[in-house]
Symmetry: C2
Subunit: 338 residues, 2 copies
C-alpha cells in the first residue's frame, strides 16, 4: 500500500532570492556604503582586513533579513540600514574569530585573513568590527534592538565556547550539535529578523513571529550547509566538497553516520575527526558511509522540519511581497541541497 | 511527477509496549509497593489523595524508562526502584498541582482530586509527594542523579509558570509552545531516562544518549497527545476528544490552525480559547478548521521529527532487548496518532 506525494512538496521549482534582492536593493546600496565608511580607520590594517573579508562575497543574507523585516512593517527611518550593517559586522567579526579558533587556512575559497595578516590582527579587527557594530546600534537608539543584538552577540560567543568543548568529540549528540548551531548561526538570523519589527513599532506578536522565523531559518540554513559540504543529496559531487571534513568539523551528517554505524564505521570516523586522517581517500570513504547511513538525506529532512516551523511562524502575517520574499528564503535554503 | 512512499514508513505494524512491560515487570512490582508505602502517612488525607491519583491508571511510562535504562547498563542494586518511584511521585505531584492551576474538573476520566478534597489539600499532598521523592533520591546516594532530578523539578515548575504567562494567548508561537512542553513534559522523560546510566556508572556518552532519547521522546509523546486530543489523524472521533479544547488549552494543533487561518478563523479561535466559547458546536467547527489547515497531521509530522532524533540518540548503543524496548516506545508513541 502506498501514498503518492506530489514531487512539488519536495522540490519547489528553483526558488531563488530575487524577490528579496529586489526589495532590498536600494537599502543594500546604503549598507554597502556604510560598511566601507565604518570599516575605515587611520590604522591601515583595519580597512585592509575588513575589506578583504567583506569583498570576498557572501550572500549578505543576514542584513537583507533586517532590511526586509523593517520594510515589512512600514519602517520609514534610516535605522534599519545601520542595524543591517551592524548585523553584517557581527557576522564578519565572527568569521574572523572563527578562522583563528579553527586554525582555518581558507575562507570562501580565498586565503583566510589570518593567513595574510596573522592571528592577532584577525582577532583585533574582529573586535573593532564588533565595537563599530555596537556604536551603530546605539546610534539607532532603540534599547530593545540593542538588547536583542547584544544578547545575540553573547549567545554566539557562548556557542563558540560550547563548540570548542564539543570539538573533535565524536560522542556529540544531535541535541548537543543543535545547541551549538542554534547559538552560532541561528541566534544571529533570529536577531537580524527580529529587530525589523522592533524599530518599526510592530506589536509583540509580529516581533515573536520574526524571531521564530529567524531562528528556525537559521537552523535550516546551517543544516543544509552541513549537507552541502558533503555534496547535498545530488549524486554528482561539486567543488568545495569536504571542507568541514578536512577541518575535522563534526556536523550533523557525521553525527548521524557515526551513531548509526558499526563499530568499524565508528573507528573510521574517530580516526578522521579526532586524529586528523582526512585525505581524499578518507573523504571518499566518508561520503560512502554517509550515503550508506542515509545521513545526508536525513540532515536535509531535519532542515525541512525547521523550514516548516519557520514558514508557520510567518503564517499569521498579512500576505505581501515582503512576506513572500521571506518565505522564498526558506525554499531557497532547502532547495540548495538538491 | 510523483514519488511513492511505502505506507510502512508512516505506520509501523502496531507497535506496543509489551517488551518494556516484560522487562520491567518485576521491578515495577517493587515500584508499586514502594509507592504504597511512601504515600502512607498518619495524616489520612495523604494516602487517600495519593492513591486516588496513583490508582487511576496512567501507563507508568516514566518509571519504566528509569528501570529499563538502569537495567540496560547492568545495574544491580535497588536504587533504580527508588528513583523510578521518585520519578512517578514527581509526575503525580505535577498532576495534582496542574489540576489546581488549570481549575480542571476531571483527570483521566475521573473527578480531579481537587474536586473531591479541595485545592489546598491537592497542593499540599503534591508537596508531600515531592518531598518523599527527594528523600528517596537522597537515599540512593547518587549526587549526579539528585542533580538531574532536582534540575528537572525546577524546570518543570518553571515550565508551569511559563505556561501560565502564555495561557489563553493565541499569539503563542510554535517555538514558545515547544519551550513549554520541553519543560513541562520532556524534562521529566529526559531525567527519568538519564538517571539509569548514571547510577549504573555508564560513561558520559551513554548518559548523553539516554538524556537525548528522553527529551526527544517526551516532545514526541506530548505532541501526539495534543494531536490525539483532537482525534489524531483518524477520521472517526473517539471518546475523550476535545478535553484540551474545553479547557482552553492552547496546543500545537491550535497554534498551527490559528497561524494558518484567515482573519475569520482566527477570530473563531480567539472566541473559543480566550473567551471560553467551547461547547460541542464549537468543538465540531474547531476540528473542521484543524482539518482544513492540516494542523493535526502536521503536529504528528513534528512529533515524527522528534521521534527520529530520539531514535538516533540511541543508535550507537549496542543492540539488545532493552534498546529494542526503548525504540518500541518511540514507535508506540507515534503510532497512537493513527
Amino acid at each position: 500500500m502506498g501514498i503518492v506525494l506530489s514531487f512539488d512538496d519536495k522540490k519547489p521549482a528553483e526558488p531563488d532570492l530575487s524577490a528579496l534582492l529586489a526589495l532590498t536593493s536600494d537599502d543594500m546600496g546604503r549598507v554597502n556604503e556604510l560598511i566601507l565608511s565604518k570599516a575605515a580607520s587611520h590604522v591601515e590594517m583595519i580597512p585592509e582586513i575588513a575589506n578583504h573579508l567583506i569583498a570576498s562575497g557572501g550572500k549578505r543574507l543576514r542584513p537583507m533579513l533586517t532590511l526586509a523585516s523593517a520594510q515589512m512593517f512600514g519602517y520609514e527611518g534610516g535605522g534599519h540600514v545601520k542595524l543591517a550593517t551592524s548585523v553584517e559586522f557581527m557576522h564578519t567579526a565572527t568569521l574572523l574569530h572563527d578562522d583563528v579558533v579553527d586554525e582555518s587556512d581558507m575562507r570562501r575559497g580565498k586565503k583566510a585573513a589570518r593567513m595574510l595578516w596573522g592571528n592577532q590582527a584577525s582577532v583585533l579587527v574582529g573586535d573593532f568590527l564588533l565595537g563599530q557594530a555596537f556604536r551603530m546600534m546605539v546610534d539607532v537608539g532603540s534599547l530593545e534592538a540593542l538588547r536583542i543584538l547584544s544578547d545575540a552577540a553573547s549567545i554566539i560567543a557562548e556557542g563558540e565556547v560550547l563548540q570548542l568543548s564539543a570539538a573533535k568529540n565524536m560522542e556529540t549528540t544531535e541535541d548537543e550539535y543543535l545547541a551549538v548551531i542554534k547559538a552560532k548561526t541561528a541566534a544571529l538570523f533570529s536577531a537580524a529578523a527580529e529587530v525589523g519589527p522592533v524599530i518599526s513599532g510592530a506589536d509583540r506578536a509580529d516581533q515573536a513571529a520574526l524571531r521564530s522565523y529567524g531562528i528556525n531559518l537559521g537552523l535550516a540554513f546551517q543544516l543544509i550547509d552541513d549537507a552541502l559540504d558533503y555534496g547535498g543529496s545530488a549524486s554528482a559531487l561539486g567543488k568545495n566538497v569536504g571542507d568541514d571534513f578536512r577541518e575535522g568539523k563534526i556536523t550533523l551528517p557525521v553525527v548521524l553516520s557515526y551513531r548509526r554505524g558499526t563499530a568499524e564505521d565508528r573507528a573510521f570516523w574517530t580516526r578522521c575527526m579526532e586524529r586528523g586522517e582526512n585525505e581524499d581517500a578518507e573523504l571518499q570513504e566518508a561520503i560512502a558511509l554517509l550515503r550508506k547511513h542515509n545521513a545526508i538525506e536525513d540532515t536535509v529532512e531535519r532542515a525541512r522540519h525547521y523550514g516548516a516551523v519557520a514558514r508557520d511562524a510567518l503564517a499569521p502575517l498579512a500576505d505581501n511581497e515582503h512576506k513572500s520574499a521571506l518565505l522564498d528564503v526558506i525554499s531557497f535554503c532547502i532547495a540548495r541541497a538538491y
